[in-house]
């Protein structure tokens, strides 16, 4: 039996990576491991790196165990479950020095792939499962469950916790519980008898997860749409946003079906393409329903024309853009923040749109609700820019909570009684000086009727080709956007705010940045941190930019899109911004941020940061 070259104990602080073949049931096995660790009270993060494929291609899953609650990738691999022979060579290379490889020893591994600084452990998973289970498909599925057992022995996961989870999962199919537990026991017993269990990488019970859940951003956003009272969802399937509509539909089937009649208090429209999906949202919102569409970058490209119409004709619309790697088809199963500019200025002509930037599933839930309020208050499209990392990975967050006193802000919609009292309804007049006009819903009454159009119209809603009348309307739209800046969620500021250097970032960069800020502080570099949560930028963003002599803008795209938006839309001095860009499609690590920040700071900056 080989000995670990660096047997360094890492209690509740290590990373496991699973190298699998997609379509083999590995996702369930890996999720089971993650949830078991979570149930043992130890903070955990899981990220799925999967191909754009249904079956047979390499796929990886990464679990970071972090007693300190860090939710970003660690950048390490302490234990590699090298189950996929095709990628074995690459997987072995990736293991951090002192780490471990667990592989399927049914087949011998190549001697040329040996490394002296890691420990290789073998369990004949295929052989064990072939001897104990019938059927090709079943043996493949059970092989994955079998490694959960071996892993439990190696890193001290409580088998009873696993048993409880399996029992919950298959509560309606007890036979499957027995089969799964048998596979787990096979792996567990083999590892106990043949391997040095437990490894120095171990789980010990903690109590850090009280009040927390594991949930992905798309599920949380779909749930937010239900809680916001959205009744019309229109969409065209696209990775990585599909699970948002799946979640909405699932929750609606649970909460929105009339117990007596079976009637649905919602509708999900699967459109023929994204052009139709946004058209449906515009039609439904115009008619007074809360309506939304989830999509990703390519879908936003297709929606551009309608988004311009909704902006100009002032129709609410909520659009979720779960961003993925572009341009074009790009890498559909990899993450990026590459649609910031696309969404901010979507469509031809002078257009600017409200953007919301959730950083985690909790914000996906709450910003989904805020998006409907803002869209109806402002009568305009609102984009919620999540990304694949937030949307499709399970995140540990505080349990979602709801305030029953919440009532939706339906905005300036005139009731039938109000319409009756009018001498004449003027659709696009600025009665209140905030740039937001009053609207009516179809059917409200003869006096409330008007003609909605994307062609030139005056403040009364009538067609016009008159220059002054046209300009009056678009100038008011600009004032309305200024109003929006005061209504959108505030940016989050961390640190005293008085330090000379500030980090500015957005969305899913949050976890690696917060971990990096801790690392930097331990190296004597203290920085303030501003995370924008919305566009247009509020006064607090402008103040932060003005009060820091150097700004490090961290984002996940090649072209520094957040930086571009800040330069275009605030008074910030371009010269004081340095960009830190990460755009390889993988979620950022804290180490990347720390290194990039240190590289970006010169000697004088370092002294200033230390003093600050």
């Amino acid at each position: 039996m080989p000995k670990a070259s660096h047997p360094q104990e890492r209690l509740n602080d290590f990373t496991i990576k699973f190298a699998n073949v997609n379509g083999t049931g590995s996702a369930s096995a890996n999720a089971l491991v993650m949830k078991a660790i979570f149930r043992m009270g130890v903070p955990v993060m899981g990220k799925n790196y999967f191909p754009s494929n249904i079956q047979g291609l390499p796929t990886w899953y990464e679990i970071r165990v972090s007693k300190d609650g860090h939710l970003a990738r660690s950048g390490r691999v302490d234990l590699m479950l090298a189950i996929n022979i095709e990628t074995y060579a690459q997987d072995v290379k990736e293991v951090s020095p002192g780490g471990y490889v667990l592989y399927d020893s049914t087949w011998p591994r190549s001697a040329v792939l040996e490394r002296q600084d890691i420990t290789v452990l073998g369990v004949p998973f295929a052989k064990l499962c072939n001897e104990n289970f019938d059927g090709v498909r079943n043996r493949i599925l059970m092989k994955n469950i079998c490694y959960v057992g071996a892993l439990a022995a190696l890193i001290d996961i409580d088998v009873e916790v696993i048993r409880t989870l399996v029992t919950e999962q298959y509560s309606k199919r007890p036979k499957l519980v027995d089969a799964n537990m048998k596979a787990i026991d096979l792996g567990y017993q083999y590892a106990r008898e043949h391997l040095p269990c437990p490894l120095p990488l171990r789980i010990t019970r903690l109590d850090h997860n009280q009040g927390h859940v594991l949930i992905d951003g798309n599920t949380a956003a779909g749930l937010g749409c239900v809680y916001a009272g959205a009744t019309v969802g229109a969409w065209y399937p696209i990775t990585p946003s599909t699970s948002l509509m799946d979640a909405y539909r699932g929750f609606c089937e649970r909460y929105r079906v009339d117990a007596e009649t079976g009637d649905h208090n919602f509708i999900v429209l699967q459109a023929e393409d994204e052009l139709a999906a946004i058209g449906m949202v515009v039609g439904a919102s115009w008619n007074g329903a809360r309506a939304f569409t989830p999509t990703s970058g390519p879908g936003i490209s297709l929606m551009n024309e309608f988004v311009g119409l909704a902006y100009y004709a002032e129709v609410p619309a909520v659009i979720f853009d779960v961003q993925r790697v572009g341009p074009s088809t790009g890498m559909p199963t990899r993450t990026q923040q590459c649609d910031i500019l696309l969404c901010a200025y979507a469509s031809h002509g002078d257009t600017r749109h409200v953007l919301l930037f959730p950083a985690n599933p909790d914000e996906c839930f709450h910003l989904a609700v805020a998006a409907f309020d803002l869209a109806e208050r402002l009568q305009t499209p609102v984009f919620v820019l999540s990304d694949l990392d937030i949307g499709m990975n399970d995140w540990m967050i505080r349990e979602l909570e709801w305030d029953d006193s919440y009532r939706p802000d339906r905005g300036k919609v005139l009731s039938a009684e109000q319409v009756e009292k009018l001498t004449k309804f003027q659709r696009y007049a600025d009665r209140d000086g905030d740039g937001i006009p009053y609207r009516t819903l179809p059917g409200v009454g003869p006096k409330g009727a008007y003609f909605t159009r994307g062609s030139g119209h005056n403040q009364y809603g009538l067609y016009t080709e008159d220059s002054a009348e046209y300009q009056q309307v678009v100038d008011r739209l600009k004032r309305k956007f200024a109003t929006a800046a005061a209504l959108v969620p505030r940016a989050v500021v961390e640190g005293p705010g008085t330090r000379p250097i500030g980090v500015v970032s957005v969305g899913s960069c949050d976890s690696p940045i917060r971990e990096a800020l801790g690392q930097l502080e331990r190296c004597g570099v203290a920085l303030d941190y501003l995370r924008v949560r919305a566009f247009p930028f509020g006064a607090e963003v402008e103040a932060f930019l003005a009060s820091h002599s150097k700004l490090l803008v961290v984002e996940q795209n090649r072209d520094a899109q957040l930086r571009a938006l800040l330069v275009l839309e605030t008074a910030v001095e371009k010269a004081k911004i340095t960009s830190i860009l990460h755009y390889d499609g993988m979620p950022m690590t804290a180490g990347f941020v720390t290194d990039a920040v240190l590289a970006a700071l010169g000697g004088s900056d370092r002294r200033a940061a230390a003093a600050g």
Partner: protein, 359 residues
């Protein structure tokens, strides 16, 4: 411009069951060319809505882009209108109908808007059996961009510049029959007595109703060699074409023109002669034709098209065929946009218990 028409109603004007006259169903002044077939269709819609005693504000008018799409501003001024983007009226109608199933939806589109850029949305609105009347004002030509062929132009028909079309047409009626539309009809803008009942029937059909209305373009498709033309007297018509086509100086000058009305009995073919000697053939259906037989209707129309004849009238109607969008989705009888928030948001207690699933 949509200049409102002065509302002066003579006391002797007939009133419908709501006490409204036809004038109450009019809209703004048309800005289309004098003699445009579309204006006749607008008049037929006014007549049909008045005849059905529709509450004006309970009607929703939708359109895309193009000459035909402008016409929603010219009827029922007290209805809500939505003039969207080119070829995408159907999706707006789908969303609007999803939100409020109680209103009456009429979409007016053209052959460019529906059969080229909007073919996909039209097809899928039919597949969903969206409860609306979808009216195509079909003139075989793009008017606002000055005379390009549309997807309904027949093979061999000539553009105003003299080019012959070589691509086969998309026939909206055949398309609708093949996609399962429950109501398919064809009319002619010059035949109001036939068109008004078709529109009334289409508005009343409990699902997707398509009416293809042949509606000649007096400006860009009313010339020698066109197969979608009115017959005009040579003296009346020719100067406008000459001025427009050859000098270039008077490109916007359109001679006043009058549309031709044809009057014929069922089963009778009417030949509308064109000044170059070609003809448009219009034929009403046999009185014995079974409109419930989709396949028979398809075969009949296709055979007549081969002979150069457009079959008009009610081509297929099956009110019982399948449920509409809401039936298929089991949507609540109360329109979704009227459901109170309390019935939509599950509340804090349910969220707390839901969270157990994620622990």
């Amino acid at each position: 411009m949509s200049t409102p028409k002065p509302k002066v109603a003579h006391p002797s004007l007939p009133r419908n069951s709501l006490g409204l006259t036809r004038r109450d169903y009019e809209g703004g002044m048309s800005t289309l060319c004098a003699g445009c077939g579309h204006d006749s269709i607008t008049a037929a819609i006014v007549e049909a809505c008045w005849g059905l005693s529709l509450e004006p504000h309970r009607l929703v008018k939708l359109s895309g882009i193009g000459c035909s799409s402008k016409t929603t501003a010219y009827f029922v001024g007290e209805a809500h209108g939505f003039n969207g983007v080119h070829g995408r009226m159907a999706s707006v109608a789908t969303g609007a109908n999803a939100a409020n199933r109680e209103l009456t939806y009429i979409g007016v589109s053209g052959d460019g808007d529906s059969l080229s850029i909007g073919l996909g949305q039209l097809a899928h609105a039919m597949r969903r059996n969206l409860n609306m009347l979808y009216l195509i004002e079909n003139n075989g030509v793009y008017g606002l961009t000055k005379g390009q062929f549309s997807a309904s132009a027949d093979v061999g028909t000539k553009s105003k510049k003299g080019d012959a079309n070589t691509q086969p047409p998309v026939d909206p009626a055949l398309l609708a029959l093949s996609l399962g539309a429950g109501f398919v009809a064809r009319g002619f803008s010059g035949d109001k007595p036939q068109l008004v009942p078709l529109i009334r029937a289409g508005l009343s059909h409990p699902g997707f109703a398509l009416i293809d209305v042949l509606s000649p373009c007096v400006t860009f498709n009313d010339h020698e060699g066109s197969t979608k033309s009115y017959a005009f007297t040579r003296e009346h018509y020719h100067p406008a074409v000459e001025a427009d086509f050859h000098s270039g100086a008077a490109a916007d000058f359109i001679a006043p023109a009058e549309s031709i009305s044809v009057d014929y009995r069922e089963g009778e073919e009417v030949v509308v002669p064109l000044h170059d000697g070609s003809h448009v053939h219009l034929k009403k259906l046999d009185p014995g034709f079974d409109t419930s037989d989709r396949a028979a209707a398809y075969a009949y129309i296709a055979a007549k098209l081969k002979e150069g004849q457009y079959v008009t009238g009610l081509l297929h109607a099956d009110p019982a065929a399948g449920g509409d969008l809401h039936a298929a989705n089991r949507t609540s009888a109360t329109p979704l946009n009227r459901l109170p928030f309390e019935r939509l948001s599950p509340g804090a207690a349910k969220l707390a218990s839901l969270m157990a699933r994620y622990r």
